[in-house]
Amino acid sequence: MISSDVLRGYNDTIVLACLLDKDSYGYEINKQIRDQSRGYYHIKETTLYSVFNRLEKHGFITSYFGNESLGKRRTYYHITPKGYEYYCSKCQEWKETQELIDAFVRETIEEK
């Protein structure tokens, strides 16, 4: 069971990670998140598009129209250098968070 609070803090990171290697669009990113998380995370549409909106507002990604799909134009997203910097800082943040929590997590708990 994964805490949704924790996930919420890293939605930006997850989406940016999907844009690291190549530009992509809504549905493809949605699928990638599902696959890469081995089915553990089915991100909601509204969450995903809120993330796109926020990332674009901050200049971490840019959008452009791509191929025709079913007669409609797809919106593709591209990570910017600023976005890449933000992604790296979030990765670092996660490492530090993990180390902190790990200090309090015991592998086995002895019954007292």
């Binding site: 809504g26 949605n30 549409e45 509204t46 796109f52 079913l70 919106t75």
Partner: protein, 225 residues
């Protein structure tokens, strides 16, 4: 696939039609449709696929929060797109005309009865004529008020407030209070005048008309507030 579009239209119906919202709605819809098609290709039946796609929609609250739609501020990205503005003033004009027509009908209805009396006083059917005239015109007036009141609600629901988008949240609150106060005063006045007319002038008979006039005034005020 049509069901998906209807679903998305429904969920987004309460949101103002800003460029951001329209773009997001379009993207989400296209995303959902692509997902649906892939589920069908995987062998799912239409209903299951539709159910899955809908369950992955999320909550419209996320969108509201993200786009700050709870307090609509008048800044660049939140301005309604241009084609809405001519539509708003066009509708406002029609609405105003509708209400004016309704008021005119009511006035004609009321005063027409006096005129009929003057002209047809000798006719034994004069009272029937008065009643008929009055009913027909007041009926038309009330129908106009109700119709335009509903149209206004429907319009505001899909396109944001008719009275301007700033202070979107404040207006309904203040208006409700205003309406309550005005209605209260209006009706108390009505009863008072009726009682006065009855006791001091014995005008119980045509005096009751004041209640109808009050009702008309009340609906006109409510339509405009």
């Amino acid at each position: 696939m049509e069901k998906i579009r209807v679903f998305v239209d429904n969920v987004f119906s309460g949101l103002p039609k800003t460029k951001e919202v329209i773009d997001m709605k379009r993207d989400i819809l296209s995303n959902m449709e692509e997902h649906y098609l892939e589920l069908i290709k995987q062998g799912k039946d239409e209903d299951s696929a539709f159910g899955i796609v809908v369950s992955e929609f999320g909550s419209i609250e996320d969108i509201r929060r993200e786009l700050n739609l709870d307090e609509i501020l008048y800044n660049e990205s939140n301005l309604p797109i241009d084609e809405d503005n001519p539509m708003i003033s066009y509708f406002q004009r029609k609405f105003r005309n509708g209400i004016i027509a309704g008021v005119v009908c009511c006035i004609i209805g009321v005063f027409g009865t006096a005129v009929i009396y003057e002209i047809f006083y000798y006719n034994y059917l004069v009272e029937a004529m008065q009643i008929a005239w009055f009913s027909v015109f007041v009926c038309i007036g009330v129908i106009l008020f109700i119709y335009w009141g509903m149209e206004k609600d429907r319009f505001e629901k899909s396109c944001g407030s008719l009275n301007g988008m700033e202070a979107f949240q404040e207006a309904p609150m203040k208006n409700k209070k205003m309406k309550g106060i005005i209605n209260g005063i209006l009706w108390q006045l009505t009863v008072l005048i009726y009682l006065l007319m009855g006791f001091f002038m014995g005008l119980w008979h045509p005096g009751w008309i004041i209640f109808i006039i009050s009702a008309i005034i009340s609906s006109v005020i409510n339509a405009f507030l």
